[in-house]
């Protein structure tokens, strides 16, 4: 019972990290162009995520489906998978790099499953088709579409007065960014709902064909919304200021592209990462304007995307091994404390170069863009 409670707590914590990690996806460009004030942007995104979490309540498709053998999934596996996802989310947040929370969670579950049931319990074809191939194509598709959209936006409005152009595209940005947030809430909040449901089924608390309990739906929706409102300012800064010097027509084109690609992939059932789509869109917006892109920053993102699954898998595997070695409940308590210390340490480290709503739009410097005076308010 203790391990189940801790798994639920870990699940909601993962959802929270997912929220602040991914708030950049929808709002980074709107904040960078001044379309929305930073706090207003994350506030709108939080509400849209909350609404999105309730918008479609069919949570049948769990995160592990088609990735690992469902019979090998135990509460301990879910716990370890979530630990891997949280550790990776927090580490990449500190580095200010947008990476896929879904891939981190999948990696954690795969690592734990490998230790629990061996490599035959992992459906490698599912890993390839649901993680690796979409990871390659998501940013390429998004960049290509965004480049065309950006070119069109500038080409069409050459004779429009600058003031009208800037204001008009900023309004457009606010709308499309909200749409992306809504789609994000539907996808990512339900992902955690699915994982927690899986844990409840594995622990025989609910039947395998039971619907997701209301308390899971409500708590997951609140957790991702709260995380989004905290605002992952480090990642917002990288995506908004680090890749290109973005203007409002580019921001609108990037957000419209992200919305169109995410919604069409959702419609056709191809799991493209929101993070990778949004990052690709921003790069495409730069290319469509013929603007220099900071490829070193994008290169760091790509390396992180490649490393995400194995790194989270390593943490998941280690966590599961320790739980098994120490024993169920005690092992879960020990690993929760270790994870708490890790996250706390990262948070304290981040205070040395805090990024917050006040300095999120400062000029980018190539050392990582967080070289401003430390701020000690509610920065995240």
């Amino acid at each position: 019972m203790v391990i189940l409670v801790m798994t639920v707590v870990l699940g909601l914590s993962f959802d929270f990290t997912n929220g602040f990690h991914d708030s950049a996806n929808a709002m980074a460009t709107s904040i960078a162009t001044g379309a929305l004030k930073p706090r207003v942007a994350v506030g709108i995104s939080a509400v849209a995520n909350l609404v999105g979490a309730f918008l479609s309540l069919s949570v049948a498709a769990t995160i592990a489906k088609g990735i690992v053998d469902q019979n090998s999934v135990t509460v301990e596996v879910v716990f370890a998978g979530l630990a891997g996802g949280i550790a990776w989310n927090v580490a990449t947040w500190y580095l200010g790099i947008p990476s896929s929370s879904s891939h981190a969670l999948i990696g954690g579950v795969i690592g734990a499953t490998l230790v629990n049931a061996g490599r035959h319990a992992v459906i490698w074809q599912g890993v390839a088709s649901k993680v690796f191939i979409p990871a390659i194509f998501a940013p390429i598709i998004a960049a290509a579409v965004a480049a065309l959209a950006t070119w069109l936006a500038y080409r069409t409005t050459t004779k429009v007065v600058d003031q009208v152009k800037a204001t008009g595209f900023r309004w457009g940005q606010a709308g499309t960014a909200t749409l992306v947030s809504l789609a994000h809430g539907t996808n990512d909040a339900q992902k955690t709902m699915g994982v927690l449901t899986l844990a409840l089924v594995a622990n025989h608390n609910i039947a395998p064909d039971a619907t997701t309990p209301d308390w899971v739906i409500i708590s997951c929706a609140i957790a991702i919304s709260a995380g989004t409102y905290i605002g992952g300012w480090r990642i917002i800064r990288t995506l908004g200021k680090g890749l290109i010097e973005i203007e409002s027509p580019q921001g609108f084109a990037a957000e419209a592209t992200s919305a169109a690609v995410i919604l069409s992939s959702s419609h056709y059932g191809i799991p493209l990462s929101t993070t990778q789509v949004c990052s690709g869109s921003v790069v495409g917006a730069g290319l469509g304007r013929g603007q220099p892109v900071r490829w070193s920053v994008f290169g760091r993102m790509v390396v992180t995307w490649v490393v995400t699954l194995p790194a989270a898998a390593a943490v998941g595997a280690l966590t599961f091994a320790v739980i098994r070695w120490i024993g169920g409940d005690a092992g879960a308590i020990v690993m929760s404390i270790v994870l708490g210390i890790f996250c706390g340490g990262i948070y304290l480290l981040s205070r040395k170069s805090a990024v917050n709503p006040d300095n999120v739009n400062d000029e980018w410097d190539d050392k990582g863009g967080a070289s401003h005076e430390p701020a000690y308010d509610s920065a995240a």
Binding site: V127, P134, I141, K165, A256, V261, S264, S266, Y268
Partner: protein, 89 residues
């Protein structure tokens, strides 16, 4: 090893669906951006969107109507997007 073994015997991804995403993405985003931009062009032409700092612009009701129509189409597309989200499962 597992991934390599899988790659030799199975289809990794539905290329047709990937192509559809690219097509729908291009058409959807490009149309949305184009129509919205057209709306701004019409609004700018109408003179209603200008501030006093932009100088004297004659008011043109047709431009205003066309501009608002374009923006409404984009809003309609966004609402359709919400409909897709709602029905995705």
């Amino acid at each position: 090893m597992g991934i390599l073994a899988a790659s030799s015997s199975t289809q990794w991804v539905d290329w047709a669906d990937m192509g559809k995403i690219l097509l729908v993405g291009i058409v959807g985003a490009a149309l949305m951006v184009f129509i919205y931009s057209l709306g701004l062009v019409c609004l700018s032409w109408s003179g209603y969107a200008h501030t006093a700092d932009d100088g004297d612009h004659p008011r043109n009701l047709l431009g205003l109507i066309l501009g608002c129509l374009c923006l409404l189409i984009v809003v309609g597309a966004a609402v359709y997007g919400v409909y897709i989200i709602f029905n995705k499962h």
